[in-house]
Symmetry: C2
Subunit: 366 residues, 2 copies
């Protein structure tokens, strides 16, 4: 193998593939980056058990070949090189030489034949969505993924195509995030993607209109971005029937400025940190929300102007769940629907119907 | 006590005082910020055993008084408030009320009488230096302070005034940093200041010409910046006779571009990380320095163009020590003086004589 490649392009490719490499695998080969040089150019692959990321890098291939190089040391070497052409050549059975201007690295490599093969995907069902929309949908929901491992299915995000809509749903037993976008496609599907995979996908996605082709098989999902392909394992099992969790009605509708509410709750929660309860109480008056909290440190009262339609309610929340929702929203004004002090509340954008959040209150002992 | 104060000014003052509060003291009162409101305005004080920082903040004092508030919660509350006037009032024996627009915090405070008094300093000897010069002198030397506690005096920086020069010196047994500036003063003095204190001082110092008045007593040093005063305990004991460590002559003088040498050593050290030895070898040729390193991962060869005067030498270093020096220098070109592969080498700016670094080589077993 002899290849010549621009340092910056190689660095960018390594950085993309490294997002798949968790270092948590028991197989040493999975700590490496697979480099496959053919006449068409070079392909880099990073992989672990859940996800596999493959990206193409422009290069002059003087001699074909393949190697697996430790991803950490390879990434550090390329990053530290001057911005010039990098030449990579197999010089011994187990050694690759990396040269760039006056730098010469001889690095031990691993046997490329030991690298696991990429799952073969029969293109069954395919849909198209823009990078920016998909990136935004993941960001809007992934914070609500369950952190504990008691129900593995909740560590994933539901990826549901239904009636020409794409729904992403995450929930953890205390809150739920639903993000919806219209799609022009002709099939329905429902899969659950590991949350940490989707978070890595969203880091690779750019805020651009380019199309991502998404292909499904029984066990895998493929995100095809063109030069880069991401294949993720799917989680087994049926996702929660999330629609049944949404309240059918509400008794109080609140219109409030998102940033003002967030600031008020954030300040109130400063006094609620003790014992990690994060408990803040909200009392709805005619024209404002009174937020209070107290602990051994002292107490706090915040007032946020709001428009109320319906019966006043007193309710308490874990402030972290409400703050997570508010700071992931984009609208300046939000609508909050409440029924009682023990019923879940629904938070959505005043105009946009494209997302919906549900937060469970904390039941207070009176 | 009743005071009204701009939020941003109060936040800046808290941030300055917090640099003294390490949270490592066994006295709970030292986790607080002392607020003293008099007709002249308010003074904030943060303190631990080694250092005490006092700063004045503009405020309207409607009623004099003093309190000590937990520095962490106080800092967080003020930082999260809107940028508006903040009112602080004692409303109960142990409670202070902080109000700002629609936010009302009641916070428990500690008894100000329990706060340790600031050391009284008889102004004995005083010298003046600009903030930017002092900041730069600390930055140029503090990285070489000893990290281990076997010789406590080496955890300090020597602050020496001699023959109208101010010398700051730090050394740890492997390397030494000396930074010198001319002063117009009429006395000599030699004290050792705890390194971590000086690091905090340098964060408060700005890159401006304003004068710092420095006053010495037997046990303390006072940095008076005008609105802010920093008092540090001095370390007891005599500092190493650092001048005796400097080689009197050299057999090889190297002129080299600082950034190129740093890049070469940084890249070479990527292969030297294994076992934390960081060992890189330097071989001086007629017109270049060949840097090599190897480990189980592989090996590397770097070449840096340099001008040589004298006998060629092969020498090995812990790369970290050389990199620390090079990245803290300002000159584009540096001079390196060497005598043998087991003698310390001296690194200085090509033009500037204001700083000098000494690095011990690693003796190689042949």
């Amino acid at each position: 193998m002899i290849i010549i490649c621009n340092k910056q392009k190689l660095q960018d490719g390594i950085s993309i593939c490294q997002k798949a490499i968790t270092g948590k695998s028991t197989m040493p080969i999975l700590e490496g980056i697979y480099i496959n040089a053919t006449k068409e150019g070079i392909t880099l692959i990073g992989s672990d058990i859940d996800v596999c990321i493959e990206t193409k890098v422009d290069a002059d291939v003087l001699e074909e070949g393949k190697v697996v190089i430790d991803s950490k040391i390879f990434g550090e070497i390329i990053r530290k090189l001057p911005n010039s052409d990098v030449r990579i050549e197999i010089i011994q059975d187990d050694t690759v030489q990396i040269t760039c201007e006056k730098s010469v690295f001889n690095v031990v490599f691993m046997n490329a034949d030991e690298f696991p093969s990429i799952p073969k995907l029969d293109i069954a069902k395919e849909l198209k969505v823009s990078q920016s929309i998909l990136k935004n949908m993941i960001k809007s929901t992934s914070f609500a993924i369950a952190q504990d491992e008691t129900r593995p299915i909740l560590q994933g995000i539901l990826f549901e195509v239904k009636e020409k809509k794409l729904n992403l749903v995450a929930l953890d037993g205390y809150r739920m995030a639903i993000k919806t976008e219209y799609l022009d496609n002709d099939f329905d599907i429902e899969v659950v993607i590991p949350g940490k995979t989707l978070n890595e996908v969203s880091k690779i996605l750019e805020d651009i209109e380019s199309i991502v082709n998404i292909t499904f098989t029984n066990n895998h999902i493929l995100f095809d971005l063109g030069e880069t392909k991401i294949i993720s394992r799917l989680l087994e099992g049926k996702y929660v029937n999330y629609l049944s969790l949404l309240p059918q009605e509400h008794k109080l509708l609140i219109n409030v400025n998102r940033q003002e509410l967030q600031n008020g709750i954030e300040r109130a929660s400063l006094m609620a940190k003790e014992g990690n309860s994060n408990l803040v109480k909200l009392e709805m008056n005619e024209e404002s929300i009174i937020i209070t909290s107290n602990s051994q440190l002292g107490k706090v009262r915040e007032e946020v102007t709001a428009n109320m339609q319906g019966d006043p309610i007193q309710i308490a929340f874990n402030s972290r769940y409400i703050i997570d929702v508010l700071k992931n929203m984009e609208d300046d004004n939000v609508q909050i629907e409440m029924t009682s002090s023990v019923s879940p509340c629904v938070i959505k954008g005043k105009e946009a119907e494209s997302y919906k959040y549900l937060v469970l209150p904390v039941r207070l002992i009176r």
